[in-house]
Structures are given as structure tokens and as C-alpha cells.
């Protein structure tokens, strides 16, 4: 019996004009999302590479490692970033690394090209979150009330047909029919990726598939939700309006309001305050530094070269002291800020998870490596690089960068022992340590996404059960 209903449901859906129109629209949009994603990925990759080359080229003329006081490192585009942008367009993607001290970042994509920020990008996550959920509602809102209006509900129940079989068949049929046809479109879309020259590793393929499964689960939530609403109402027009209002709430209102509420209830010190505290300490430390410089005393012989190296290491040690003090303040401030920030984020997410759209965003952005953790990771990687760069510079020049004073040893004179005119050799940038910008490991991406995937599954079950129970009490007349 269940089979008959499922079969009928699938046929009825797939044969309807409604399905033809939505499916065509879906197909176009999904293909568009993949195409645009691939194109953007290539563009971002090209830009990233251009920035890197330009950055290296800018060091070419330098003949002395001392000249190199800072290095810019760039956040490479994540492989799935163009399909699920997350915060990747909002966070700063350039870090300015010196041997010590804070690492300022700049150049978020939207700050750089605000024109894209006006409407934001089309990505697969957006298509799932907004468009496909709307279509799910459109395909599900008259599931029960529509049959009632057509009279087929009475006709079907003139047979010895248990209600639970009917509603289960209806839900399963709608779910199978729609997700399978969506999967076909998405599979076509995925084909675009290799055609456009996007190479994904095995793990990335799995992540992409998980993203799609999450999207389908989310689609299922809205489908079962609209069937649930349909089994609570007797007129399909009402059912549609209610579903639509719920949709607007879930997609746009609940997440935004949750973040605002979390922001009100957990105070996080602004970046300005932190910058100010650091800057004040910085000025104070600079004075201490000047003071310290006056206590330099030469030990041993007064050979100028020896003197220079003594001075160098003296300055370096002063800088280290200064950096240590700054670091202790800055880590204290940052820790406090990031703790509060974490509390705020957790509160915001938990509030926002009332809406399945939040779970979709969180899960897919974790899977694609474009969640809020991307920012922290970039900061960590920059710090790691700073260490490597600092050690490198110390080895090359005997002095780390990012200090107060840059000593430059004159080659022609000053040192006293003029060497013969040697053409200065340009530095070999190949020797520089390479930033380790590994993307997230499989576990790092998948584990945090599991909660939200589970939430989506639970939502599916809840609305499924809701539709089920509501239908058992449905007035069939």
C-alpha cells in the first residue's frame, strides 16, 4: 500500500507543471552557482598568485636582507570557498608580518570591492538556503490541503487505507522524488568543476558531497515543514502564506535578530579600545627603549665591527624586552576579547539555531573551511610564520625586524675598513621561509559540522513526525 502511495506521489509531483517550472529554475540556478563558483575560484586563485608574485618581485631589487623589514602573506582561497563563501569575503586576507609584534591584517574582499558587497555573491549555499527552500515550500504547501481541494483525499480514503500509510507515503514520495531530481541537477553542476579546471582532492570531494547532503537535508526540512503546515490547514492558500511567513522568519529574521540579541547581552571590548591600549603602551615602551639605549656600554675592544655587532645584539635584546611586554598585554587583551567573543558567538549561534537556515550556514561553512575559524586559523598561521621569519632574519642579519631602530651598516665607509668596490648582490628571495597555509584537515572541517547536520536531521524527523501526527487528526471531509 505504501508503495502505491509513494509511487503515485512521485508521479504526481514529477508530472506537474509546477514541478517542471521549479525544476527548470532550480537546474538553471544550480548550474549557475557551480559555474559562477568555478569562475570566481579561478579568479581568486589568479589574484592570489598575482599578489604573491608581485610581493616577491617587490623584493627583487633589494641587496641587503636588512632592508626587508616586513613581509606580506596572503590567505590562499579555500578550495570550496566559491561554493560556500561563509565569511571568506569579509575577513582580511593580507597579513603584514614583521619579525615581532602584532600582525595587522587588511584587505577584505568586500572592503576592497564594495560593489560585490551590495548584493553579495551567488553561491551554492545561497541557492540552497534561499531559493531551494522557497521551492520546497512551493512544492509542499498544498500536499494535503491541495488533495482535499481536489477531492482526491476523500476518494483515497474511501478505500481501506490507513492514514499513517498515506501520510508516510506522501512524505517519502515527495522527499524522494524531489531530492533525487535535485541530485541529478547537482551532479550535472558538479561536472562543471573539472570542466572549468578546478582540481579537488579526494577529501575535498567528500567535503563537497557532505555539503550537498547537508543542503538536501535542509531542503528536506522545508519540504517536511511545508507538508506539516499543509496538514494543519484546510485551504492551500493559507498553508502557502503561513509557510512563506515561516520561511521569511527562518531565513532572514531569526539569524539576524539572534546575533543582535547576543551582541546586546555579551559585551565584547571593541578593537579600537584594544588598539588604543596597545598604542599607549607602545609609546611608553618607546621611551623606555630610548632610555635603555643610553645604557649601552661597549665591552672589550673597540674594534668598530665588533662594536656594531655588540650594538646590534644590544638593540635586539632591548627589542625583545619591549616585544615581551607588548605581547603580554596584547595576549591578555586578546584572550579576554576572544573569550567574550566566543561566549557571544555561542549564544548567537544557539539562539539562531532555532532556524534551520543557521544550521545550514554553519555546517556548510565548516565543511568548506569558510567558517569563523578561518580567521583564527589565518592569524595562527601568520604567527607561526612570524616566528619562522624572525628566526630567519636573525640568522641572516643578526637582528630581528619589527624593532624600534634599524641599524644599517654602511658598506662604503663608516665601518672604517673600506673593502674593494663589490657589486652588491641582490638577495635570493627563494631563501625566505615559505608560509605554511595548509587548508583545514578532514576532521577539522567535518567534526564541527556534525552538530548542525544532526540538528538538520532532527528537524527533518520533527517535522516528519509533526506532519504525521497532524494528519492523523486531519478532517478528511
Amino acid at each position: 500500500m505504501l508503495g502505491i502511495i509513494v509511487e503515485k506521489e512521485i508521479r504526481d509531483l514529477l508530472g506537474s507543471t509546477k514541478f517542471a517550472i521549479t525544476f527548470a529554475a532550480c537546474a538553471v540556478l544550480v548550474l549557475l552557482a557551480f559555474y559562477v563558483g568555478a569562475a570566481r575560484h579561478n579568479l581568486h586563485q589568479a589574484r592570489y598568485e598575482a599578489s604573491q608574485t608581485e610581493n616577491l618581485r617587490s623584493m627583487k631589487g633589494i641587496s641587503d636582507w636588512q632592508e626587508l623589514d616586513e613581509i606580506r602573506i596572503f590567505l590562499p582561497p579555500q578550495p570550496l570557498e566559491s561554493l560556500v563563501s561563509g565569511v571568506s569575503n569579509d575577513i582580511n586576507r593580507t597579513a603584514i608580518v614583521r619579525g615581532r609584534g602584532d600582525i595587522p591584517t587588511e584587505d577584505s574582499r568586500y572592503n576592497e570591492d564594495p560593489v560585490f558587497a551590495i548584493f553579495r555573491f551567488i553561491d551554492l549555499e545561497f541557492i540552497f538556503k534561499v531559493v531551494l527552500s522557497l521551492f520546497a515550500i512551493l512544492l509542499g504547501y498544498d500536499a494535503i490541503s491541495g488533495e482535499k481541494e481536489r477531492g482526491t483525499l476523500r476518494l483515497s480514503f474511501a478505500n481501506s487505507l490507513p492514514r499513517r500509510t498515506y501520510i508516510a507515503g506522501k512524505l517519502i514520495g515527495a522527499f524522494l522524488g524531489l531530492t533525487v531530481s535535485l541530485m541529478v541537477t547537482i551532479a550535472l553542476g558538479i561536472l562543471i568543476l573539472p570542466l572549468m579546471g578546478i582540481v579537488l582532492s579526494g577529501q575535498e570531494w567528500i567535503k563537497l558531497i557532505l555539503v550537498i547532503i547537508t543542503g538536501l537535508l535542509y531542503f528536506g526540512v522545508f519540504l517536511t515543514l511545508s507538508i506539516f503546515i499543509s496538514s494543519l490547514t484546510y485551504r492551500s492558500a493559507n498553508s502557502f502564506l503561513i509557510s512563506l511567513a515561516v520561511w521569511v522568519m527562518c531565513i532572514y529574521i531569526i539569524p539576524g535578530v539572534s546575533v543582535l540579541m547576543a551582541a546586546r547581552s555579551v559585551e565584547v571590548p571593541s578593537s579600537d579600545e584594544i588598539a588604543y591600549k596597545k598604542s599607549t603602551l607602545g609609546i611608553q615602551l618607546a621611551e623606555e627603549f630610548d632610555e635603555g639605549m643610553n645604557h649601552f656600554a661597549v665591552k672589550g675592544s673597540a674594534d668598530p665591527e665588533e662594536l656594531m655587532s655588540q650594538l646590534n645584539s644590544y638593540i635586539d635584546s632591548l627589542n625583545d624586552v619591549r616585544d615581551m611586554k607588548m605581547q603580554s598585554l596584547s595576549s591578555r587583551l586578546n584572550e579576554d576579547r576572544s573569550n567574550r567573543r566566543q561566549t557571544q558567538e555561542n549564544l548567537a549561534f544557539n539562539l539562531a539555531r532555532i532556524s534551520p537556515a543557521t544550521s545550514l550556514s554553519l555546517a556548510t561553512s565548516h565543511l568548506a573551511g569558510t567558517s569563523l575559524t578561518l580567521k583564527n586559523r589565518f592569524a595562527d598561521q601568520s604567527r607561526e610564520y612570524q616566528r619562522a621569519f624572525g628566526e630567519f632574519m636573525l640568522e641572516k642579519t643578526g637582528m630581528n625586524t619589527g624593532g624600534m631602530i634599524k641599524l644599517r651598516t654602511s658598506k662604503s665607509c663608516g665601518g672604517g675598513d673600506d673593502k674593494e668596490d663589490e657589486e652588491p648582490q641582490p638577495i635570493n628571495t627563494e631563501e625566505l621561509p615559505k608560509p605554511m597555509m595548509s587548508s583545514f584537515t578532514f576532521a577539522e572541517s567535518v567534526n564541527p559540522a556534525l552538530t548542525d547536520i544532526a540538528i538538520l536531521i532532527i528537524y527533518n524527523f520533527v517535522f516528519f513526525a509533526g506532519a504525521f501526527i497532524a494528519f492523523l487528526r486531519y478532517d478528511l471531509r
Binding site: 500500500m1 502505491i4 502511495i5 503515485k8 508521479r11 504526481d12 508530472g15 506537474s16 507543471t17 481541494e149 481536489r150 477531492g151 482526491t152 476523500r154 476518494l155 483515497s156 480514503f157 474511501a158 478505500n159 481501506s160 487505507l161 490507513p162 478532517d475 478528511l476 471531509r477
Partner: protein, 264 residues
């Protein structure tokens, strides 16, 4: 699903003291009793809100009776609805069906719901032909069907189930004369196949034409019930008007109205 063995000695449809009071206090059925035997066409005649559809809905277990019971082959409909419904087929007033399905697909689906899982396409087409749907429309979607054609599909669905009782809720309303005529003929052949047929209508002429028994209903009561034989030679329309007028005058005592009608 296996069909129950039917006890042929029981009436196919039987209502005993069927009462339905809705939540809003309306008394839709008030201790209505009647029975329909195999090979009998029982027509409920009455205006809108007389309780005809409520009675059918109780047989179909779409609503539960407040008291009394509706039995199908002796099975109480609201106690064992799934068993009871194996033995009835239903044709509603305005059969919409699935507009995106062809006539054949609609029939196939409902046949299988009715427990006829393994009918061949030829068998299904034979039923469609029998109700007067020509071969060329069998593969057309229901969207483009006229009301009469849809009604034929509806009766085909009822026939294909091969149930012992058929319930029809205002099946002829809005049909053109030819379609109405065909419909009546079809019902007659079904009666000849020993089906019990319960039909509600407000079409007096149609009722007179096919009924073996006519029951006039008003405000939840059967105010008159006569066999076709008793009705022979009487003007049913006149009778109906008289009973209705009587029932209106004696709202508190409808049985009096019946008697009054009889006497006149």
C-alpha cells in the same frame, strides 16, 4: 490485503439510530436508520444541509457518529474502518482526481488503493470503455476533461474496486442530460450485478427514475421512506414539496409531518 468473507445474509449497508451532532451544536443526523440490500438502489433525497452527506461521511468514517452505528456488511464503520472500507466504493459530487494523471493512471492508482494490485492495462481500459470513456481519451490528462468525463472516471474507479456497496454523493449534479442518462444506465447495470447502491441527490427526477427505495431527508431525519412500488403512479415532486412543507410546519414533531404527508 485479503478480502473478508462476506456474510451475504446481512444488508450491505445498514444505519441504525445514526446520530451526529457537530461541535457547533448542529444536529446533522438524528437517529436515522435504514438499510440497503444487494441489488438495491437506495436514494436519499433532500435539500442542502439535510444530512445526506453526513450519513455518507459516517459510512466512510470521515467523521465518527455521536451515537448509533453505520455497518457495512455487518462491520461497524467507525470501529473497524479499514475492514469496512474494503467493501465500499465511493463517488463524490465533484470528482477532480489528479489533473496531471491520465485517466488510466488515475484509475490504476485508485484500483491499487482499492486492493486490485494486479489488473492489466486491458482490464482497466475495459472498465473505462464500460463507463463510456472512448479509447482516445484514456491517455489524456484529467486536466482537460469535462465534468461529465471526470464523473465517468469516478464511477470507473468505483466499479474497478468491485466492492459490494457503492456510495454516491450527489453524483449527477451538473451533468448534461446525455451524461446523466448514461450515468443512470450504468447504475442500473451495477444494480443488476448485485451491488448495494446508496446515493444522495436533490434531483427528484433522477431519483424517481432509478430508485428502488427513496428516503426524503430534512434536518437530519428521514421524513419519508417508500419503495419504488409504493411510489408508482405518485408525483414524487409533489410528495417531496408536501413533506418539506410539513416538516417546516412541525419542526418539533417531524414524525407527525410524515403522517400528515401520508394522509394527504
Amino acid at each position: 490485503m485479503t478480502k473478508d468473507l462476506i456474510d451475504n445474509t446481512l444488508p450491505a449497508l445498514e444505519a441504525t439510530n445514526l446520530t451526529k451532532k457537530y461541535e457547533d451544536g448542529v444536529l446533522a443526523l438524528d437517529k436515522v436508520s435504514f438499510s440497503v440490500n444487494r441489488g438495491e438502489i437506495f436514494v436519499m433525497l433532500g435539500g442542502n444541509g439535510a444530512g445526506k452527506t453526513t450519513a455518507i461521511n459516517i459510512f466512510l468514517n470521515f467523521i465518527e457518529p455521536t451515537s448509533g452505528e453505520a455497518k457495512i456488511n455487518g462491520i461497524v464503520s467507525h470501529r473497524e474502518p479499514l475492514r469496512a472500507k474494503q467493501h465500499i466504493a465511493f463517488v463524490s459530487e465533484n470528482v477532480m482526481l489528479y489533473p496531471n494523471f491520465t485517466a488510466l493512471q488515475n484509475l490504476d492508482f485508485f484500483a491499487r488503493l482499492g486492493g486490485k494490485q494486479d489488473l492489466t492495462r486491458d482490464e482497466l481500459q475495459a472498465v473505462l470503455l464500460r463507463v463510456g470513456l472512448q479509447e482516445e481519451v484514456h491517455h489524456k490528462r484529467l486536466k482537460g476533461f469535462s465534468k461529465g468525463m471526470r464523473q465517468k472516471c469516478g464511477i470507473a474507479i468505483a466499479i474497478v474496486k468491485d466492492a459490494s456497496a457503492i456510495l454516491l454523493d450527489e453524483p449527477t449534479s451538473g451533468l448534461d442530460p446525455k451524461a446523466g442518462r448514461d450515468f443512470v444506465e450504468l447504475l442500473k447495470t451495477l444494480r443488476d450485478e448485485n451491488k448495494a447502491i446508496l446515493m444522495s441527490t436533490h434531483d427528484i427526477f433522477r431519483a424517481r427514475e432509478i430508485a428502488d427505495t427513496v428516503a426524503i431527508m430534512d434536518r437530519g431525519k428521514i421524513i419519508m421512506q417508500q419503495a419504488a412500488g409504493e411510489l408508482a403512479g405518485k408525483d414524487l415532486e409533489n410528495l417531496y414539496m408536501q413533506y418539506m412543507a410539513g416538516s417546516n410546519n412541525h419542526t418539533t414533531n417531524t414524525t407527525g409531518g410524515v403522517n400528515a404527508g401520508h394522509n394527504s
